[in-house]
Symmetry: C2
Subunit: 387 residues, 2 copies
């Protein structure tokens, strides 16, 4: 049995003012191709299908189309959970009907304990949850709540209840969506020790999952964050920010036919890439510099200007690069908190306050031309206030 | 073949600050009982399942439970459309999966043309829509838009396209959600005449539906608004406002086995009733008056005070009646616009302005006690402003 493991689609997300939908469709089509080429028997989506609890209708239409293609048209079973970005109730609406065609989408703790059974495997679907939801489910009393106040504490209660339902003749797969810490090599004791570590770790120790043959994780967008080969983040199929700009995107093919579960990474190539640029304003607007990039909607650009740029930086750079999803200024003294920005405004003319601020931030004085712009702008403001 | 016809559930609606959910469950259980007693073959829900486009999660959970009980547990086919209160996209998400168990929920014009086929009937599901949606579907050009600017104009185009798909061996049922005008006895010509009546009627002429054997309507909450016996509003199963307080609630059982479709009204009794009271404040707080009603959460009260009531009318009345969902004041002169409310405030003390306003509205002068309350309140306000 082979499963495709993906996660963190974040349908509905925007980069700056630009919708990611086209790029998400591009990634989706590649996922379908990989599923077909690899002849997988099902598809795992480990949470954060949507970017927001109340997804815009364009996102609802897109996700519905994707699920329709995978499950109704190509008839892949789907094993999915809700992530922290999803609205569990809204995403879960109608899930019993979706199960009629083996689209399993679990969004509640109550639904996690009964695994989906295939001939070879038990697939447990454990959605993202917070400790309060677990305390409600287990009817933890107020007195006991302190012992179930972290996600680690409640997971130390939940996981044994999943393991209790293991059929030893089968492989055991967990689909879930948390920040997992450690490598899983640590010993983990299900004792009162756990409960004494109140408010300690923010994540779930990987060692808690050691009884499973494979843990398909969502939440972290980079596969490098995976604890070990049996507990992996597939990462998001699309790059969502500059931290992810250099990373490789893809899915895992999980083969559970042999004694040991094995996985293989399948790369997804970007349609539009997210290109991160940094330079002085003069460099950034020099043709020999910018002509090395495919621009005009072919890529997204996250640009950092060393210095303060020009009066119309954003418009000029958008004119050159097309889709500028982020524009930052690198002003080291300001960033390093080296500047005392306190300026005595009381007895200074407005133009002098601006000039002083400029000098503090840039170490330069306003040029004659800049000073003239300041003066004219202030005059215009005063006039408009009098009108 | 027998169908139960209901509509306008408005799950998620509140009366004043009170949730209607308990009353909606009460009505729902009666609907299930009627369906079982009458051995119906399916259930029509003619729009406005939710009260809002983005329903609160409590409403999502409630509607899902109701649909689960009707369709998955008791295995009734469901024939439903979205109404103007529903968010079509969100309500329609997952509809292809719901169809696996004969829960047909259509929220798009595109989905209206292919009827659900049973042995005896074709059931067309036409959701609420606005003219723009129809123009988009039919790819009406800008030049032609003026001829498809009212709901009547677009329905005069849509209905013949439904009728075109009639199988003459079967009965033809339409489930829809509009304000229907006229009795259906009028002649209706599908000609350019229709298109010349730009911006005329706000509703859909009943005569447009004459080709159908039964039209199950939603939108208007009172069954009395039905154009004729073959085009009926079932009304809402719960009373939502004082206009509906005196009305009988229920569902229609539609029998389409005979040559002529026949219908039978089945009443739903209220758990909590909405009681409309009107009287002077003194009457309303007199035990011999209020003791004739079941109070303390057993009913909702919409109260109109003849006059201006007392300083703490709302608190006092809530203490007596329990759930006061509405509190109004009947001040005839004010309502009839007979009062010139312009008061010269410039050279008057605040207490005199208030006294003058009171006299204009009630025809009485402030009593000594009332004047003392005004004075003390103004003093407290001034003090708190100085603190």
């Amino acid at each position: 049995m082979k499963l495709l493991h993906t996660a963190d689609w974040h349908i509905g997300k925007e980069l700056g003012e630009y919708s990611l939908l086209e790029e998400q469709w591009n990634a989706f089509h590649q996922i379908v191709n990989i599923a077909e080429t690899e002849h997988v028997d099902g598809i795992i989506i480990a949470g954060d299908l949507y970017d927001r609890a109340i997804a815009p209708t364009s996102a609802v239409n897109a996700l519905e189309s994707m699920l329709r293609e995978l499950n109704l048209e190509k008839q892949y079973p789907i094993y999915a959970v809700s992530g922290n970005h999803d609205g569990a109730t809204r995403l879960g609406a109608g899930h019993e009907w979706r199960e009629q065609t083996k689209l399993y989408l679990n969004t509640t703790l109550a639904g996690a304990f009964e695994p989906i059974e295939t001939n070879e495997a038990q697939i447990f679907l454990l959605p993202f949850l917070d400790p309060l939801e677990a305390r409600t489910y287990y009817q933890i009393s107020e007195d006991e709540a302190v012992n179930y106040s972290t996600i680690e504490q409640v997971m130390a209660k939940i996981i044994p209840d999943l393991v209790n339902n293991f059929d030893n003749a089968k492989k055991h797969i967990l689909v879930t969506h948390f920040n997992v810490t450690g490598s899983g090599n640590e010993d983990y004791k299900f004792t009162s020790e756990t409960n004494s570590r109140v408010g300690g770790l923010k994540g779930v120790p990987a060692a808690l999952f050691n009884d499973f043959d494979y843990v398909a994780l969502g939440h972290i967008h980079l596969k490098q964050a995976s604890p070990n080969e049996k507990m992996q983040y597939s990462g998001s199929p699309v790059k969502f920010n500059t931290k992810e700009a250099q990373s490789e995107k893809g899915v895992y093919i999980v083969d559970i036919s042999e004694e040991e579960v094995s996985t293989e990474w399948k790369r997804i190539t970007t349609g539009k890439d997210l290109i991160v640029l940094k330079g002085t304003y003069e460099e950034l607007i020099t043709p020999s510099f910018y002509e090395q990039y495919d621009r005009d909607g072919k890529n997204w650009f996250s640009i950092t200007i060393n210095g303060i740029g020009a009066r119309d930086s954003r418009a000029t750079l958008s004119g050159i690069y097309g889709e500028v999803v982020e524009l930052n200024y690198n002003l080291p003294k300001l960033i390093n908190n080296e500047i005392d920005l306190a300026i005595d405004t009381k007895d200074q003319a407005e133009e002098d306050v601006i000039a002083e601020f400029y000098e503090k931030v840039t170490d330069n004085q306003l040029s004659k031309q800049q000073a003239a712009i300041v003066e004219q702008t202030l005059t215009e403001i005063k006039q408009s206030e009098e009108d």
